[in-house]
Amino acid sequence: MKEVINLPVKNIEEEEYHINMGPQHPSTHGVLRLVVSLQGEIVKSLKPHCGYIHRGIEKMCEKDTYPQIIHLTDRMDYLSAHINNHAVCLLVEKALEVEVPERVKYIRTIVDELNRIASHQLWWCSFGMDMGGLTCFFYGLRDREKILDIFEESFGSRLLHSYYTPGGLMMDIHPDFQKNVKVFIKYFRKKIKDYDDLLSGNVIMQLRTKGVGVISKEDAISFGMTGPTGRGSGFSCDVRKHHPYGVYEKVQFNEIVRTEGDTLARYLNRMDEMRESMNIIEQLIDNIPAGDYTAKMKAVIKLPAGEYFQRVESARGELGVYVVSDGNKTPFRMKFRTPSFSNLSTLDYVSRGCKIADLVAIGASMDYVIPDIDR
């Protein structure tokens, strides 16, 4: 029989000890495991272990044709499914040099922005919840429901739409789409004031986020932080501005950049992005041109041999799709550059010296979606 080893007396004030946050933990929003070394309440170091829901999407793409790949990209960053689809569609269209109808571009842009708002609403829910304000969760979901209803009416599903196809759209938008979107925007402009009253302006929330988890611009760039997270550190990286796709070059919108680099900056960035997205939608929703909802595509899509890359601005940051084609109907190699993964890589660096509560707040402000990390 093995003798029970008497562990030495540990003084938790002086010695580090490890706790496993996750894979089941309320603040990791999924099956992410963070092995946190703590000294008292202070985080000394942190090691993310991902891969708990790795499904091998990139490998699965190698057996699928390009239209089939679309439905897999839905399941990466499930909160911005439309935007993920958009990336693959743009890549195929770029490779085949297909010009999609103007109507398609308009609809895609509007739907992308709606999806961005929905994603940020869910982020706001979970941010509030991680801060301990459970009521935020329900307000956010209540308003997200309105967007999901619009999606369901037009595209038939609420979360995983597979609405875009290479060359166009699955079907035309619902006749009520424009009306409903306008109603929603009017509604949400009112409700976003509640968000500010409830959480943004709250003194507790300000205290907990201001100056917490600061990332400098240089670090943000070298870690590859993009999206609202990177822009919170002053890294101007909006793909919609710098490499416009869709009809982004035709609309007036501001790239929201803050230089503080702390949790509050990332928070406010997302709040402002919701408003900016509403501005974009308002500019486009009445001007959708008539036309076909899909370009003429061959029945079997084969990309010419070569390498292709396309990036879009997803709700979490820059989503890149890289394809190596050998001329077949399936890609030879497919690689997704997902924003959550790069944003997660900073977590260890940022959270050192913070408290556990800060770690949760920083994690919430990074807004990572675990399937987006694991793919």
Binding site: R142, L160, V203
Partner: protein, 160 residues
């Protein structure tokens, strides 16, 4: 002295922001008509799904028990998950020729990801979305469905 006033300004602003937050929740507390909860099993009768709602793949049949599926198998090849299996049969036509028809259009609901490619690519528009969404069953085999009804035949104008 400045920090002295700052101390009280902090308290004042803090309390003000807290009261603003309480105003929001308090307003919703006293306005129960804004409740958004839907009472699901009770509202079953009035619950209407949207026309385009992707509940399941169905094969519409006419009143004469006729469908439009030719059994060409395009949906089977386009399905990314292999959730459609088509079993073909051959019948003797009156003129002596043999003709392919569909025997069973098997649809595995448990494997379907509702991407809609089968419906989009079907050349004869034989498939459609059904609005049924209560798919919970106790036995997994019940999720495998045969879409063409027994004894059904193909519509005349499609077969020609």
């Amino acid at each position: 002295m400045n920090s002295f006033f700052q101390y009280f300004a902090d308290i004042f602003n803090g309390v003000k922001s807290l009261l603003t937050g309480m105003k929001v929740t308090g307003r919703y507390f006293f306005s129960p008509w804004e409740i958004v909860t839907q009472q699901y099993p009770e509202n079953r009768k009035t619950l209407k799904m949207y026309d385009r709602f992707k509940g399941e793949v169905i094969m519409p049949h006419t009143a004469n028990n006729e469908h439009r599926c030719t059994g060409c198998g395009i949906c089977e090849t386009n399905c990314p998950n292999g959730s459609i299996e088509i079993i073909q049969d051959k019948i003797d036509m009156p003129d002596g020729k043999k003709k392919r028809i569909i025997d069973k259009h098997i649809y595995h609901l448990s494997m379907c990801t509702f991407c809609g490619l089968c419906i989009k690519t079907c050349p004869s528009d034989a498939l459609a979305w059904g609005q049924e969404f209560e798919h919970a069953v106790f036995d997994r085999t019940k999720l495998t469905k045969i879409l063409n009804k027994p004894g059904s035949s193909i519509l005349k104008d499609i077969s020609e």
